[in-house]
């Protein structure tokens, strides 16, 4: 085979691989899980294939299986964890519609397993335009709940910031500041109250926001 033909064939293979990637991912036939036990591996692959057939993202499921291997969990436990995550991803997809990004669904699933009530994901999604990622608000809500702040209280503060035009970084700074305060010994509720007040003070007043924002404008990213 001439060099020229080899190059052409190689390029064709690359193109074919790229175009076939979604189908392959959906079938999950190409996923190689580092699970030594063949029975467990087959069962986990079956779980992942089922999720893929439902249109769910498979990367978080693969990561969950890898996490179990890294943590030396039993095969049964890995299988249960993957199946459980698949259910949470499906639930998150319904709650966060029309969001479809893997990052948002993964964040939603993580929120659910950490005790964030399901309806709150819907409220987060509704607080920003559909085209704007809600990964950060969800992640901050999760972190606040994990640190012991009542979910309702945390949601109120986060959605208030979102509606006031806070950026994702400002919302994240709230989460990180509260996290640090709690680790340092401050009461979770008190930390949230004072930090939310701090971020809120950086935002324009509601009246100013209304008068400055032209109709249909997008909030800052």
């Amino acid at each position: 085979m001439s060099m020229h033909r080899r190059v052409i064939t190689l390029v064709a293979l690359v193109l074919a691989s790229v175009s076939a990637a979604p189908a392959l991912a959906a079938q999950q036939g190409s996923v190689v899980l580092p699970i030594a036990d063949a029975r467990t591996r087959t069962a986990v692959e079956r779980e992942i294939a089922r999720a893929a057939a439902k249109g769910l993202p498979v990367q978080p499921l693969i990561a969950k299986a890898n996490e179990g291997v890294a943590k030396q969990a039993s095969g049964e436990r890995i299988q249960e964890a993957v199946a459980s995550l698949a259910k949470r991803l499906e639930q998150a997809r319904a709650l966060l519609a029309p969001s479809m990004s893997v990052a948002e669904l993964a964040s939603g699933a993580e929120a659910l397993v950490n005790g964030v009530p399901a309806p709150m994901l819907k409220q987060i999604r509704a607080s920003w335009p559909a085209e704007r990622s809600v990964v950060m608000p969800i992640d901050v809500l999760t972190e606040l709940v994990v640190r012991g702040i009542p979910a309702k209280h945390a949601l109120e503060q986060i959605t208030a910031l979102m509606r006031r035009g806070a950026t994702a970084a400002q919302i994240a700074s709230l989460g990180q500041s509260v996290q640090a305060d709690v680790v340092a010994g401050l009461a979770p509720d008190a930390a949230l109250e004072v930090r939310a007040r701090g971020v809120m003070s950086l935002l324009p007043s509601p009246a100013a926001t209304a008068s400055l924002a032209p109709t249909g404008s997008r909030p800052p990213r």
Binding site: R6, A26, N66, S84, A103, V182
Partner: protein, 211 residues
């Protein structure tokens, strides 16, 4: 870092500048960049090229194909959209904190893509991780950003006995742990703890965001 890696990163940067912001998943970008930076061994792609014996594509050509594949990946996004960022490790204070300087020079010569080149707040953020474990022979970072793959993100040992790595992470909340000597998984003692309902092994949490 090799010339080949430099070229790939340069092309990734160029591709990202041209891509509409909405098409670039920052977590996917971070995963890609971390994969490039953390690959000291011959890649599967390199081995594949060697097998084909195509010298014309083994250097600059491979970089072009990689950039093309990235672009094609953007087009295919929606059905193929990785969550994950590959990477991170931070902490070293009372809790982990991003460096806050997306374009600052990083430890170990790891480059950082300026936020403006990728998309403002959604750009990967350079994040440093530190572990004080002088008795360890090797330490690597595992977490949701690299799909918990041990060994993919090794830390560098300093003369002081501290281990460190600085990696680009997508903004958001990340759970991670250190893998010592390839087998022992430990949480970051300097970071807030993360529960683990699935496996019962406590990890650590870092909140990453562009300052």
């Amino acid at each position: 870092m090799s010339d080949g890696q430099d070229r790939i990163i340069a092309q990734v940067r160029a591709t990202l500048r041209e891509a509409p912001e909405a098409q670039a998943d920052p977590r996917a970008v971070a995963q890609l960049l971390s994969a490039v930076w953390a690959a000291p061994r011959p890649s599967a792609w390199r081995r594949f090229l060697d097998a084909w014996r195509v010298p014309a594509l083994s250097g600059l050509g491979a970089s072009a194909v990689a950039a093309f594949a990235l672009f094609a990946g953007f087009l295919a996004r929606g059905s193929v959209e990785p969550r994950a960022e590959r990477e991170p490790m931070m902490a070293t204070g009372e809790f982990p904190t991003p460096t806050g300087a997306p374009d600052a020079a990083l430890a170990g010569g790891v480059p950082v893509i300026p936020a403006a080149a990728i998309g403002g707040e959604s750009a990967p953020v350079a994040t440093q991780f530190v572990l004080d474990r002088a008795d360890a022979r090797s330490v690597s970072l595992v977490g949701d950003f690299n799909e918990w793959q041990g060994g993919a993100l090794p830390l560098t040992r300093l003369e002081s006995g501290l281990w460190t790595a600085t990696v680009p992470l997508a903004p958001g909340r990340h759970v991670y742990a250190f893998l010592i000597d390839g087998t022992l998984m430990v949480a970051d003692p300097r970071a807030p703890k993360a529960g683990d309902a699935d496996y019962g092994r406590e990890g650590s949490v870092v909140m990453v965001f562009a300052r």
